[in-house]
């Protein structure tokens, strides 16, 4: 019984982490309709920036996290201005090819600079170990992940729903032409959103080094997970991807614990079944853009 709760807890932490990693993709892929397979590369960049700062420069872990965000966001905004924005109107095939190219480049470049072995980030001693909560073992690090990601999610929802920027973004996504006619600087909104999504991925990458493992093949290994979150979650709001990542996290942890022999089989089957059942995702809107 307690193992059930511990698994549930781990699954929720994992799902929250996946959401932070993938919610940038939910905007580019789900809302802007740009197939960006290279999203994991930004997460990896954030993870490695944090690893270098904490392990080699001796920065405290909690100072490394914001810098991971900033570094990935900067890389994101530069790439968006230089490369991505030319491809918004191209065919999906072009977008797929381009982003696969970016993934290959990032994998090889990180392999060259940092080596191919797995990297660990030194976490503060206060975050190690477990807390015993009514007999349920709760990992402190995972608890921190839930807290950080929960706050981020609530913040995101508020920004999207309540602020002027949020309404500009929703307008720009719904109808870019009408939005620019109303004086909204659509390319700027997209660039900022893209950068912010990349920054979140970078933060997620830094957080996930402890849980998912960080090596140069990170973008390839987790590409499918990010895509599942977005396609299964649909693109109507961030609630869909959020629920989808929780579902995915819990299903993956439970699958690995209770039926370890089946491995990732469970996840892929669920994904294919859901996509057959509802091609626009579980929480998608009816008309696709």
């Amino acid at each position: 019984m307690t193992s059930l709760f511990t698994n549930l807890f781990d699954g929720v932490a994992y799902g929250m982490l996946l959401f932070v990693l993938a919610c940038g993709l939910a905007v580019t892929l789900g809302l802007m309709n740009f197939v960006n397979l290279a999203h994991g590369a930004f997460a990896m960049a954030g993870g490695y920036v944090c690893a270098v700062l904490v392990n080699q420069q001796g920065w405290p872990f909690f100072a490394g996290l914001p810098l991971a965000f900033v570094a990935s966001a900067l890389i994101g905004v530069v790439l968006e201005r230089l490369l991505y924005r030319h491809l918004y109107s191209r065919s999906h095939l072009d977008q797929v090819l381009f982003s696969i190219g970016l993934v290959f480049m990032s994998v090889a470049a990180v392999d060259y600079v940092m080596g191919s072995s797995r990297v660990f980030i030194k976490i503060p001693a206060a975050l190690e170990g477990q807390i015993d909560f009514f007999g349920v073992g709760i990992g402190r690090y995972r608890l921190m992940i839930i807290v950080i990601c929960g706050l981020l999610t609530a913040g995101l929802q508020l920004v999207l729903a309540r602020t002027r920027f949020g309404s500009r973004l929703r307008a720009a996504v719904d109808d870019p032409r009408a939005a620019s006619g109303l004086g909204i600087n659509v390319p700027q909104v997209f660039a900022l959103t893209f950068a912010f999504g990349c920054g979140l991925a970078g933060l997620g990458g830094a957080l996930s080094a402890e849980v998912l493992g960080l090596d140069p093949y990170f973008p390839l290994k987790f590409m499918i997970y990010f895509l599942i979150v977005v396609t299964v979650g649909g693109s109507s709001s961030i609630t869909g991807p959020f629920l989808a990542s929780l579902l995915l996290g819990i299903a993956d942890v439970a699958g690995k614990y209770y039926v370890p022999k089946l491995g990732p089989f469970v996840i892929y089957t669920i994904m294919i079944v859901i996509l057959i059942w509802r091609p626009n995702g579980l929480f998608g809107r009816v008309n696709t853009r």
């Binding site: 191209r90 999906h92 090819l97 381009f98 696969i100 290959f104 480049m105 060259y112 089989f265 996509l275």
Partner: protein, 343 residues
């Protein structure tokens, strides 16, 4: 001439053999005689060309973007390997066809999943199927050998006459023959009314449906056919290397395949062939430059191709040959890559 007769006339004209096509195949044969020490690498090119031909059928002609074409390659590879290992079908040609048929069956079943949904769902479903098969192959390691792959495969002589040799000579001619036969078949298919209807679907599915083309049935048919081709390519892989391991399902294989096709150009049959040659040469150059990091350069090539634009790139490449042809033949541009605006 009535309009219908005119359409038929032009379609037949397109379907005719051009002298440059014959030259291309003679060149391929000449390569075999010119570089007897490079059989292994040339076999690889031929296999890749066949695999690319398979993707071209669905991507270039029917406009289905697939990220998991390696699934069929892998199924073909493992079926050929298992058949040889357990002595079910020992004769390579028979095993080749059977492996193709196994992949074809899988293609038929999964095609129903693929035709549902738009581009993005297709990408995910094809990718998911390839990953699923990889996970299955890893899981049932008592059948597939798990991460070690199938070991101790011995391939009998082809038709009981030609045994595979160390230098890959027989393997190369065998692969080339298979490629040629399947190429002829593909050529016949894409120039048939069926092939023309596929192109109509690619350009505009809605319009194609409006003029009475059964869109879904055509897509299922071509997806199944492409799965057969990919399965045969996979079986060739196992038979010429006596090896089948988990990486036949790898995502990189599907991604590289897309690059091959994009280099060569989608939507015409020689695209895969040319792409395979160029890709292998690029790979060779990059791995001599930086042995461990050649993927970086492959990625860079992809990014550059997309940024420059595929059509513009093909125009640049064809500029010189077309100039020469125009000088001597006095005709309009003879070599052109017929690529639609939205594959």
């Amino acid at each position: 001439m009535t309009a219908q007769a005119e359409v038929g006339y032009h379609a037949r004209q397109h379907g005719r053999w051009h002298w440059s096509e014959a030259a291309c195949w003679i060149l391929a044969l000449a390569c075999a005689l010119m570089f007897p020490s490079r059989y292994l690498i040339m076999t690889e090119v031929v296999r890749l060309a066949l695999f690319a031909l398979s993707l071209d059928l669905i991507l270039g002609y029917a406009g289905i973007v697939s990220l998991g074409h390696a699934a069929f390659f892998g199924v073909g590879a493992y079926s050929a390997g298992l058949m040889a290992l357990h002595g079910l079908v020992t004769e390579p040609v028979g095993a080749l066809v059977l492996s193709g048929l196994v992949a074809m069956a899988l293609g038929f079943v999964t095609s129903f999943l693929v035709i549902r949904g738009a581009d993005l769902t297709r990408l995910m479903v094809t990718l998911g199927i390839a990953l699923l098969l990889e996970a299955l192959a890893e899981r049932f390691s008592d059948i597939t050998g798990g991460t070690d792959g199938l070991q101790g495969i011995e391939i009998e002589p082809i038709l009981g006459l030609f045994g595979f040799d160390m230098f890959g000579k027989v393997g190369f001619f065998y692969s080339l023959a298979v490629l040629f036969v399947l190429f002829l078949l593909a050529r016949r298919i894409v120039h048939s009314p069926f092939g023309l209807s596929l192109r109509a679907i690619r350009n505009n599915p809605l319009r194609a449906a409006a003029i009475g083309i059964p869109v879904n049935r055509r897509l299922i048919a071509v997806y199944t056919l492409a799965a057969f081709y990919a399965g045969v390519a996979g079986a060739l892989f196992t038979q010429t290397t006596a090896l089948a391991s988990l990486d036949v399902f790898a995502f990189e294989r599907s991604a590289d395949l897309m690059l091959v096709l994009v280099i060569g150009g989608t939507g015409y049959l020689y695209g895969g062939l040319i792409g395979a040659v160029v890709f292998r040469m690029l790979q060779e150059v990059f791995s001599t430059l930086t042995p461990q990091y050649w993927q970086f350069w492959i990625g860079l090539v992809l990014v550059v191709i997309v940024m420059v634009g595929r059509q513009r790139l093909h125009r640049w490449v064809l500029w010189a040959p077309n100039l020469i042809i125009r000088q001597f033949g006095g005709r309009k541009a003879v070599v052109a890559v017929p690529e639609s605006e939205a594959p």
